[in-house]
Symmetry: C2
Subunit: 155 residues, 2 copies
DNA sequence: TGATGAATATTGGAACACAAATGATTTGAG
DNA sequence: CTCAAATCATTTGTGTTCCAATATTCATCA
């Protein structure tokens, strides 16, 4: 198999992994009434204690405006709360509520599920080589992203 | 590094790869006026000749209802056309238009771009091991997906 | 002090993605 | 041949994601 073909398949497979993750999110939603991003946000809230929207967004690696919507839905379901921060009134204090904590106990580990099962079915050395290869890939892709942003800002 | 940590990092890295692909889609959009899914669809239309919406959806591995919107935008831009199929009037015939063909010549290879550059910066053996690991992962995840669907349909 | 600038959350707009329901058409079984 | 079932594209509704623009609040420094 030549290099081009390798790349072609990797691309297809990445797409399928993403696709499987999305389908998993739908399954979770059907069983627990909240999607994978919502579940993940809840999990970060449990881990991180009281957070602001900004810190939550950074923890999730999402744009703040995205997290607003996710949080809206968590609050609607009484799984989390939004309170004004008395110290800094630009901020809000986000907290997980008892109902959210209870849900976390019976829900799968956030956003993993099927992926974790997939990885667990692989040999230790395969998992390690996947991790190494992905890490390299991410490093190069993110470096390119910086270059691109620099390039465009120079217009 | 233990297994759990490996899995955790793989998950994070996959997320970052997906994120980089999304940002890449925005870049493409800024430069060529169409997003990565649109570009990819156009590329499939060039490859596949006259297609129906269903075959295009299968080629893109997307839900038909998703492709309706993507195609709408391509037609709006005069890059593709929608015609009724005289043989089977349930179907439509989708074709790439000259303007779409011209755009494909100067646009990057669909949906790849940054990912391809990333992979090209890696050694041959790393690319191969990544491909193998991803293929295994996909196989297991999609097998689980089938099981889940079976499980839910048995309710 | 008082104005300017930075930080924070939010809104609005566009695109993508799915499932479920709909309407039109074709196919197939009796 | 006829009517029920399957197929095909689409619409509707929900959710995720980004960016750009906005309002509010805080911090800095002249």
């Amino acid at each position: 198999m030549d290099r081009t073909e390798n790349i072609e398949r990797i691309f297809q497979d990445l797409r399928r992994v993403v696709h499987a993750l999305e389908l998993y999110s739908k399954d979770v939603n059907a069983r627990f009434g909240l999607t994978a991003p919502q579940l993940w946000a809840l999990w970060e809230l449990e881990r991180g204690g009281g957070m602001t929207l900004g810190t939550l967004a950074r923890a999730l690696q999402l744009h703040p405006s995205t997290v607003v919507g996710v949080l809206d839905r968590l609050v609607d379901k009484d799984l989390a709360s939004r309170e004004p921060d008395p110290q800094d009134r630009r901020r809000i204090r986000i907290r997980i509520l008892p109902k959210g904590r209870a849900l976390l106990k019976r829900a799968p580990h956030p956003a993993q599920g099927r992926l974790v099962h997939g990885l667990q079915a692989m040999s230790e050395s395969q998992v390690t080589s996947l991790r190494r290869a992905l890490a390299t890939l991410v490093r190069v892709m993110e470096a390119e992203d910086l270059e691109a942003r620099f390039f465009f800002s120079e217009d």
